[in-house]
Symmetry: D3
Subunit: 142 residues, 6 copies
């Protein structure tokens, strides 16, 4: 089993804010991330697939095909966008934390990646140089 | 003459948008940066001062003092903020491009830096891994 | 299961040196790392926790709480310090190799992290751009 | 179990090209990577070994010994070389994709690494800032 | 005067080799870079322009226009290419050193950049993490 | 005029401490950097030379020769060393700040670099990801 990782980048705005809470409660839980006027990040997305290299091409999966899927299903939807306002496949009331986002990204691309000879293995999202989240699918790391 | 550079980081939202223009004109000029719902970046700010090292301390300027000025005058004002909505020293109608921001940052801290034995030499702002701007003050690079 | 990683940085001095050995033996085994007058590094510490995101906050664990624990129990103890001389929870005679340090760091924070709704999953310590160590706890990677 | 990772770097040329195919077919499958006149990369190689730290030295494995093995068996063979023309242990007809290379590297060093008290755990090869591959041996990640 | 820097990346092969010299002489002067079968790099290209920000757009120069010029005149010509064989605007007999390449790149884009309201100020080419060259035009740094 | 930059790395220990001052005064001025038991850094050293590329080799200066000078005169002296105790060309009482070190490094190599067809232009020392110093020689940036 070989693992291939492709990086894509995007820039987006978001805030962490529970409408049912007071501003004070939001500030207490989410700190400056609750600023009502938004803030944003340069996100780095790392998508890892697992499989056996094709005996002729040497590809676990064609990285161009992987990139096309990730760009169409994720980057085109979130780049220069606002996670809270612009992403219609983000469920109402779900906070756009790094943890929640990687799980949504997994659901967006798993089926399409798996149709291409490899298996989606991990989605890693680097939000800042100090924070990142990883998800290995609903059955966990195998 | 020695040059000392201190890096600080912050995360902010912004958009590039001229209200007098149509959405189409904004899109044509600013591309995805004109998204009305904002986007954002992990900014890296590099502040460079010039001077002679103190013969006893070896400091061109105490980096902790420099950091205190930059945090109080800039970072506390723009971190987890929206350049268009939250920064009251950004003139009305000025686009928060990297070029405009570095000049505003210069004006925020020049006097305070120069009171501390060194001279503000350069402000560099890295917006993404692909875009940065630099400013050397109104009299230019010397 | 989601994984959240928080980076912290610190600068420290150390040496690798077995007092019972001759200088020649220390030099043979540890090379320049045995210099009796110390050397040092800019360490990058990556702490990963695993858990389910809270349905309201979207947090596997509040990154600010994680950071507070890591700073209080680790960074405040080792930053601008000497691993051999200043860290009283480093057992006498234990070499401050990257491998030994990550295990000690695990023991410092495991209980406190696990009281906060997530499980400590991995501690990674980057000593230089060329050397890093990882530890997944006494029961190993799960 | 502790994991120690050592980075080495090298620069090499390669192309992805199946001689039995037409130029058009090569271009369709491999894109610009099929350029008959080669292209190249600054590769970063990360070799991870697993083991228990020696109670006296604190080493899972002496990083200098690991580096010596990796340099002699891999770096000296591929640095400033052409994967398709200069590497005689690359089987005829095998494409020098990142996925195929990490598996060949594993076979080059596994026995020698394992003679030194640790177990080869992972080989990761970063081809560009956007592409990397990992291999955990014929029995997979354990 | 403000300075705006745009990064682009490309991967290319080259060798340093004077045909009139013996292999021994080439090896003595160019070391492993003279390997007849080529080697290659992930190049990072930083193009800096200088000017005054437009009072309406805040742009010294539209970074998308700058990127379009650089991609058309440079990246499309050298990406996944061989500097010695594929670049017809590299003079015969000129070695593709980082120093020579940045000067050729300057000549490729200076006129087109300067037609867009800014002045080409610097071209920096990072060949590896250890080597880079910069050029400020035939009249030097101003 | 072309500029060529070569990076070298080293790891060292130091402290900032004026013996004539009380511990309190040292702590007030130097903060944690005054810890009597030392701390350390992974330093990155960038040496820039200026000149015209040789018409045959394309070299402003042979980077291997530059590297040899820098390694012999600087890296071999400070790597895995203590700036305060091990570097006999650091004047007594001089604080090993980044600013003071770059000036000492300049004096160590200027004559030898300038004998090789190029002119030493800049020495930049990156102490941490947040602090760096630059020196352009006693006559300043030209």
């Amino acid at each position: 089993m070989l693992y291939l990782t492709r990086r894509e980048t995007f820039n987006a705005a978001h805030k962490l804010h529970v409408p049912a809470w007071s501003d004070e409660e939001n500030l207490r839980v989410f700190g400056k991330c609750s600023n009502k006027n938004w803030h944003g990040h340069n996100y780095q997305l790392f998508v890892t697939v697992a499989g056996e290299p094709d005996p002729v091409t040497g590809f676990v999966m064609d990285a161009k095909v992987l990139s096309t899927i990730v760009k169409r299903e994720i980057i085109d939807e979130v780049d220069h966008a606002n996670f809270n306002l612009d992403v219609d496949w983000m469920p109402a009331g779900m906070q756009p934390t790094t943890e929640n986002i990687v799980r949504l990204f997994w659901e967006r691309i798993e089926a399409q990646v798996n149709e291409n000879g490899a298996r989606l293995y991990c989605i890693r999202l680097q939000e800042t140089e100090n924070i990142a989240a990883e998800y290995y699918g609903p059955e966990g790391r195998k």
